[in-house]
């Protein structure tokens, strides 16, 4: 079992799926699912192994290295599992749409490219896979045409800026050290001047910051998430965006190294990064509250939660980095679940994602509701869901590192989250069911299955976080951190212990007791949704939505502070460049006479220069 076979399976499988689609749609669907499942099994079998393979003279004689370590395995298993679940979810979601062959091809290529990124052992192959990923993502974001084209364009332009930054960093590393092998660079970089290390950190930080949508580089994300097809949005938000986190981990703790990152001589890079993370938490979370589009609301949370990961890994303590890495996985689980839940609703309601026209779907789509409920619980970080454990680790780090203001930003972000996700869940599933949705059916099984699996994962990792934390512990020791004292249900340390199993049993037993008391009381009568009390007034049916403008009093107070100024600034740059190019274009009049005139004028200018100053 070697790594190149894994990648060949991934890329070849994508191509094979495309070709199979030319013959039969059924066969293609089957093949896509089988290939994505084979990848999961493949990666799972590689647990604990550390193969490394070098291929020579592929590209200008620079060796092409594939390697696996604990960090890449962790991301690989997350990528392949999420990819498989999203492929299964796509089966019904994409049925009957046009260009589905193309959809499956790009979807599987994105997955394969992500696997390539994390398996790459040198920066050239890293960069190649990174570009494959960016471009196929662009194709998928623009899949729906219309506004999706603009969203895709925004994405790819920002992506290219990031790639160029990375390219500059790579060239600089190559000219300095003559190698792009990650492990060789990390061995020699310790002797570099702190200015040079800071340059490397910043230039790669721009590339990864754009991918991970760290403020102020976040503007591509809301549109892209909202416009991409829902199963792909799950991949995009779950793992693809988090390639930025992988990049930061690779950059800070593998290439540059722990010691070089957190030494104060470096202008406190990690401290500035942490503050950017904090800003990334607070502002997008509050913007999310103002959204009325289900997917856009989640997209803004995608940015905000990315801030938690950055905040965790920026601090360079073993607890914080563990929290950051764990949150990456947790975020992938619950955000994918939420997008799938929205996708299921969209599928049954004719693509509706405007929160103000849905409602009451809990009775029609119970599984999608459970997915949504557990998803928002994870997103908030309610105890016993996975999000809680990772957030707890991050908060604790911040408090113990004497950064209460960063901790405040992280905590207040959570409370902002509650407001917006309650609105999200309520407006889709609770409240009055509009008459037009009277006959909505539950989502098909191929949609319910991934929702159920992800819901179970949220609870499993929330109650027994040790399963994941053990793997993370192995990653951390490879970074050179001291090892954490991990048990199956939490973390033991001097200044506060976490024990999720205690909380679990407390909630379970108390819940059963309360439920029994509830059952003992006089029986309640089920009534229709419109049979409700309004102090003698008649509540009109289907006339208005109780939760449009839900947080109006708060809107009025905070809206002026929540303009996306950065996005406006980028648009201003874009339009200025366009205007400038427009005026440059006039030079090219299309008439040969003008060009001859330019040439003569230029020659005259040269002759004038020569006569005056005698330069040549």
């Amino acid at each position: 079992m070697s790594l190149e076979i894994l990648l060949i399976t991934a890329f070849g499988g994508a191509l094979l799926t495309y070709l199979a689609g030319k013959v039969s749609y059924k066969g293609r669907d089957f093949l896509a699912v089988v290939i994505s499942l084979v990848l999961v099994v493949f990666v799972a079998c590689l647990y604990g192994k550390a193969p490394e393979k070098t291929f020579y003279s592929v590209f200008f004689g620079i060796p092409f290295i594939l390697r696996l370590n604990m960090l890449s395995w962790f991301f690989a298993i997350a990528i392949s599992s999420l990819g498989a679940l999203c492929t299964i979810f796509s089966l019904s979601y994409m049925k009957g749409r046009e260009r589905t062959n193309f959809y499956y091809l790009t979807m599987l290529v994105v997955n394969a490219a992500m696997l390539g990124i994390i398996l790459a052992g040198d920066l050239v192959s890293f960069y190649i896979f990174w570009e494959i990923m960016s471009w196929s993502t662009f194709l998928l974001i623009s899949y729906n045409k219309g506004p999706a084209l603009a969203a895709g364009m925004k994405y790819i332009i920002m992506s290219i800026v990031g790639s160029l930054a990375m390219l500059v960093g790579m060239l600089s590393l190559y000219t300095t050290y003559g190698t792009l092998n990650i492990s060789e660079i990390s061995a020699v970089i310790a002797s570099a001047s702190s200015g040079y290390i800071l340059f490397i950190l910043i230039i790669f930080g721009i590339a990864f910051g754009i991918k991970n949508a760290v403020m102020p580089l976040h503007t591509w994300l809301p549109d892209s998430y909202a416009e991409a097809p829902s199963p792909f949005t799950a991949v995009l938000s779950g793992m693809l965006t988090r390639m930025g986190v992988y990049g930061f981990l690779l950059l800070m703790y593998v290439i540059v190294g722990l010691h070089n990152v957190i030494t104060p001589r470096l202008l406190s890079y990690h401290y500035i990064l942490a503050w950017l993370g904090a800003i990334t938490i607070v502002i997008p979370t509050f913007i999310a509250m103002l959204q009325n589009d289900a997917k856009k609301l989640l997209a803004w949370h995608g940015i905000g939660q990315g801030g938690y990961m950055i905040l965790g890994i920026a601090f360079g303590t073993s607890l914080g980095v563990a929290g950051g890495i764990f949150h990456t996985l947790n975020h992938a689980i619950y955000i994918a679940l939420l997008f799938m839940s929205v996708g299921a609703v969209q599928y049954r309601t004719g693509g509706e994602r405007d929160l103000n026209s849905l409602g009451g779907l809990i009775k029609k789509m119970p599984i999608a509701f459970i997915g949504g409920l557990l998803g928002i619980a994870g997103l908030m970080g309610v105890p016993l869901t996975n999000g809680f454990v990772s957030k707890w680790l991050i908060y604790k780090t911040l408090i113990l590192q004497r950064s209460p203001f960063l901790a405040f930003a992280a905590l207040i972000g959570t409370w902002g989250t509650i407001l917006s996700v309650y609105k999200f869940l309520h407006n889709m599933f609770l409240g009055q069911l509009p008459e037009k949705y009277e006959n909505v059916k539950p989502a098909p099984f191929s949609m319910q299955l991934p929702i159920i699996i992800l819901s179970a994962a949220i609870l499993l990792f929330g109650i027994l976080p040790g399963i994941v934390l053990k793997v993370i512990n192995a990653i951390e020791t490879s970074f050179g951190f001291e090892s954490l004292n991990v048990t199956l249900w939490g973390i033991t340390s001097e200044s506060g212990t976490l024990n999720t199993i205690n909380i679990f049993f407390a909630v379970l037993i108390v819940g059963i007791i309360v439920w029994t008391v509830f059952r003992l009381g006089a029986k309640s009568v089920s009534v229709r949704q419109d049979d409700s009390y309004a102090a003698g007034a008649h509540i009109p049916k289907d006339k208005y939505h109780y939760t449009s403008e839900f947080y109006n009093p708060l809107y009025r107070m905070i809206k002026p502070f929540l303009r996306d100024v950065i996005d406006e600034f980028y648009y201003w740059i874009a339009s200025s460049v366009q205007r400038l190019s427009g005026s440059v274009r006039r030079v090219y009049a299309g008439d040969v006479g003008y060009y001859v005139m330019y040439i003569i004028l230029f020659l005259a200018f040269l002759i004038f220069v020569q006569l005056k100053w005698k330069l040549w």
């Binding site: 009775k363 105890p383 909380i503 409700s532």
Partner: protein
Amino acid sequence: MVTKVMQIILSPVLALIVGVFFLGLARKIIARIHWRYGPPLVQPVIDMIRLFYQKSVSHGRMFDLGIILSLAGSIVVVLFLPFGKMCPLSSSGGLLVILYIMLLAPLGMALSGGEGANPNISIGISRKLILSLGYEVPLLLVLLAVMTHYKTISIMEVVNVQQSTSWSIISFPLFLSGLSYFLILPAILGIRPFDVSSAPQEISSGPMAEYGGKYLALATIEHAFVLFISIALFVNLFLGGAANPVIFFVKMLVVFVLGLCINAVFPRFRIEQAIKYLWKWPTLLAFLGLIITMAIRS
């Protein structure tokens, strides 16, 4: 082991008794301030028993589960709070866990009310969530100041240190935070002038508009627990906790009556006014407290 199990059973029961007593006391005291006679102290108990036997309506699964979740969440918080020296689940994540489990109560209530599909409920929940965001800003600053000052996230540790030295409320930077907590206490409790979300005369008790019978009884019990939790948290963090439950109860009583007398005479805020108030003085005090704590500690 046996004492532990006894504590686990005993502390919610004690909390319930104290909470219900406070509910009765509040009605009595407010009545006296209004120059009325007021109902007997045990009136809440009588009401609850009566409600349990009365008919009620249900709007669906989530309507039932939400109220159960809400009450269960509140009871679980009690297990994490020291009551005197008694703290059944002290080593399970500390203040951060308490802070988060305190979420379950309003969340459950909101989910339950959401399925009620009633405009009054929606207005009530909207106000409740906005209000909680309002008081959460100073509250988090206060809690962070305490955690930074004592360099721990364990509430038991905070109590122990205070018992061997002095109460936080009379130590220098933390009295600012303590004062801030006291100022937002009525908002946390949802009593006047911050009873915007339940405002009976305006929106038919808001989230509770569809509740009747046992739902109302459970909601009342839940309110009793919230009373206990918010005041007990204040006593633990700022008044040094207590060596035994009796002293702890006396401290709670003093805080409660003091808060009640100050706030009973105010008319209800509008929600914007409430937020403006919460984000002005209490936040300023809490902010100052945190900055000074940080400056001293580093």
